[in-house]
């Protein structure tokens, strides 16, 4: 086991979530908008003063400073914002070191370009490389396939799988695409209203939580969904 977290909470967003990750595991977080996927990633990454405990190799990585933390975990936010026009190479280096050359991401032609001159997809690849470069034990990725074309989506998830296959590492990936989750994940955690509500996508809970069901191989709405924030 590489991660044990319990009672993670962020006021109003996340309510007492516990989870464990085994070495080599790729776990997908799914759930409707506002169900707490990003909040759970935040709580694990130490963003916004979360309560609860996180343990990796006997330490809480959220207590480590900038010198040691990227070796334990890195976080890719869903917004691909960069505030200053840095070179792609420098941006990757800011993430805590490591080798920038991920052959699979084909970054070589991008490295000496300024981030604001790249397309959205290219920028995503650079930011993903920033999160992967320190080779952390735990990858926390929020919508890593967003803005990527279908081929790059497959390549990226294959790369994540390959990365965590070596040396006791794991990935927790928040993703909206249920089919992608089913295809890539070892385990799927379904979140609802700030809690982990279920595991896997087989069962009546999918219709209850998402308001959709598989009909003739495609997802179809089954009822109007209530706003998760409007009820307790």
């Amino acid at each position: 086991m590489i991660l044990a977290a319990s009672d993670l909470a962020l006021p109003g967003r996340l309510f007492g979530v516990s989870l464990e990750l085994e070495a080599g595991e790729l776990v997908c977080l799914v759930g409707p908008n506002g169900s707490g996927k990003t909040s759970l990633l935040h709580a694990l990454a130490g963003i916004g003063h979360p309560s609860g405990t996180v343990e990796m190799d006997g330490v809480d990585p959220r207590r480590l400073g900038p010198a040691r933390r990227p070796a334990f975990l890195t976080y890719l936010p869903a917004t691909r914002e960069v505030h200053w026009p840095l070179l792609a190479r420098d941006l990757i280096a800011l993430g805590g070191g490591g080798e920038a050359a991920f052959a699979a991401l084909e970054l070589a032609p991008l490295l000496d370009r300024r981030i604001d001159t790249l397309s959205t997809g290219e920028r995503s690849r650079v930011l993903i490389a920033r999160a992967l470069a320190p080779r952390p034990k735990l990858l926390l990725l929020d919508e890593p396939t967003a803005n990527l074309d279908p081929l790059w989506q497959i390549r990226l998830m294959d790369l994540v799988r390959e990365e965590i296959g070596q040396g006791g590492r794991a990935a927790l990936v928040a993703i909206h695409d249920l089919d992608a989750a089913a295809r890539y994940a070892d385990r799927i955690l379904v979140m609802d209203r700030g809690r982990i509500a279920a595991e896997g996508l087989d069962g009546p809970h999918v219709a209850e939580i998402f308001g959709i069901a598989r009909v003739d191989g495609a997802w179809r709405p089954v009822r109007p969904r209530e706003d998760p924030r409007s009820s307790p």
Binding site: E81, P85, G95, I115
Partner: protein, 322 residues
């Protein structure tokens, strides 16, 4: 920043400093032949404090500007545009003319308190990662408020000469300050710049966004507090001695980031050097300009800085949008 760029910058700064102390050479040479003691007094009591103040104040404005721009993730943030210098000026005026404490230490304390108040108000009004429009509007409102309150404080002051007295100082002036007064600005300036430099790596990482910086192990809330306090301390101490000088804190960091490939935190040191260079050059311009009367240095920096600011606003299209 490359070694060559740093060397050039330091050499340029040294040359400008030497020029500020020695120019015009002719006057000094003639005086040295006629009255050695007077020439030395001129050097040590007039020119050296003035050059030192320009060096310290310019460097503080450059470094503080770079730090504030990095913190707000916005190249238009600077101590003057966001109201910090006006707040400091208000603090000093209230201390001197309403409370009647004119000692340098009291002025510094009042000035730093005013700067802290202005920066705190800015954070409360505009929020930590303000859009340019919000930031500038909040800064404008704070500057206007501080300016009005400064005028009010002078109007209510017991001394009938308060306006006349304060005018030169409010426009920014490096003239007729003693070495002791220069030290009151220079020591906080050195401390501020040294402490800001320690925050450079965290400010560089803030370029990746606040969440990523936090996930990398930086306490962004504490970082914000440190920048606000240090900026208020350094700028406030300089304003107390020399009054409000604008635009150096805006321009220096923009040039500095060109030397650091856009890194906002690493730009603090070159921004300090460029800021010092700019202010010494502006001071030389006020002295050597053939106008018969010495211009307030704040007028010179504004005359050069304001058009640059306009150009900058017009060229904001390169800004990244999330």
């Amino acid at each position: 920043m490359t070694a060559r760029a740093s060397l050039l910058l330091v050499l340029a700064l040294a040359a400008a400093f030497a020029a500020a102390v020695l120019l015009p050479l002719q006057t000094l040479g003639t005086l040295f032949d006629e009255d050695r003691a007077l020439a030395l007094a001129l050097l040590v009591e007039l020119r050296l404090p003035r050059a030192l103040l320009a060096l310290a104040y310019g460097a503080t404005l450059g470094a503080a500007g770079a730090a504030v721009q990095a913190l707000f993730a916005n190249p238009l943030a600077s101590p003057d545009l966001t109201g910090t210098t006006s707040g400091a000026a208000l603090g000093a005026v209230v201390t001197a003319y309403l409370f009647g404490f004119a000692a340098p230490l009291a002025l510094s304390v009042g000035s730093v308190a005013g700067a802290l108040g202005a920066l705190g108000l800015l954070l409360a009004l505009a929020g930590p990662r303000a859009e340019t429009a919000t930031l500038l509007l909040a800064g404008l409102a704070i500057s206007a408020l501080a300016g009005a309150l400064t005028t009010l404080a002078l109007a209510l002051a017991p001394s009938p000469f308060a306006f006349y007295d304060a005018y030169d100082w409010l426009m920014g002036s490096l003239i007729d300050r003693s070495l002791a007064q220069a030290a009151f600005a220079a020591v906080p300036a050195i401390a501020t710049i040294a402490l800001l430099l320690r925050l450079a790596p965290a400010l560089d990482r803030l370029a990746l966004g606040e969440e990523v910086a936090q996930s990398l192990g930086h306490d962004v809330g504490r970082l914000r507090l440190q920048i606000v306090c240090l900026t208020a301390f350094g700028v406030g101490a300089c304003v107390a001695i020399c009054g409000a000088i604008g635009f150096i804190g805006l321009i220096a960091p923009i040039f500095a980031r060109r030397l650091t490939k856009g890194h906002p935190g690493r730009a603090i040191l070159p921004a300090a050097l460029i800021g010092a260079l700019l202010l010494i050059a502006a001071d030389l311009a006020t002295r050597l300009a053939p106008l018969g009367r010495t211009l307030p240095i704040g007028v010179v920096t504004a005359l050069i800085g304001a058009p640059f600011f306009l150009w900058l606003v017009a060229h904001m299209r390169w800004r990244l949008r999330p």
